[in-house]
Symmetry: C2
Subunit: 190 residues, 2 copies
Amino acid sequence: MKEVLLVLTNRWADWEASFAVSVINSVPMYKVKTIAIDNLPKVSIGGIRAEIDYSIKEYQQLDNLAMIILPGGYSWKEDQHEEIANFVQKVSASHIPVAAICGATIFLGKWGFLNSVNHTGDDLDLFQKEKGYNGQDYYVSAQVVVDKGFITANETASVEFAYEIFKILKVDEAQEIEIWYDNFSNGTAR
Amino acid sequence: MKEVLLVLTNRWADWEASFAVSVINSVPMYKVKTIAIDNLPKVSIGGIRAEIDYSIKEYQQLDNLAMIILPGGYSWKEDQHEEIANFVQKVSASHIPVAAICGATIFLGKWGFLNSVNHTGDDLDLFQKEKGYNGQDYYVSAQVVVDKGFITANETASVEFAYEIFKILKVDEAQEIEIWYDNFSNGTAR
């Protein structure tokens, strides 16, 4: 059973990785664990105090790691999060996928992880405007982009984000993943 | 500042109330707090160990309560949750709205809260079939139903569920709530 790490920061966005982790943690191949720069609970935007399974310092061995997921949240714009950046670097260098949504895409952009690839994100777009970039190098107007081991998504694309993650992690048969996506995109009361 | 209580049970569904609580807890009028039958952390389907602010026993005074929200989760089918049912009864008798989604609608149905009103819910439908009900009395094929102080929703309707809650709690100007709903229903990268 491999681990999928949810990287939590203060004021993490409740909804952004919620579809992803609930399915991943329900299949036999994976277990979701929370990780942060320390072991103190991290409070979501919605007021949920989530306990932390691992500090980054104590997570040295990546052999059992299938993916890391970075939900958005207010702290990505406020702090540098250098320790998390170093961890992303290590994970990415080990060819383990990194999934980021909303504010976490800014963080990846700031640290240069997305410079050579095409990525999306409302906030990434804002970040580029602030920096005077025209965004043409790597900005794509799409809800989710998957490229070179990085999955990036807009804050309004939590279902699409989960869908792309499910295909990469192969959480189920392709057809079942399509049914899940159709239900959660369009509703079941049709 | 009034409180909105998120009622957590073991294996609560991460995504179902996530849109609702993140907006409610971000506006000045409300604060989201977690409540459960005891003070032990409650682990979500996705593996998040959420700490508990109040046990039901210690929450006797409802003057400062604006709403309770019951996310779905696996334990609603397994346990009776009598203590939560008594709390719902007390809240409802005080004319404070009760919002429930997915498995939590079964729980409300089991305890008779929805018998005289029209409600929705995939699981409520299943529950009715198991019990031999034809469902015509109170089942509606819709993603969300708001009726007589109860808001009920399907598991695939977390955005619609939040939208109905926002209108009742008046978290923002009507027009802003519509913009939020449009963005989260249709995406921002259009």
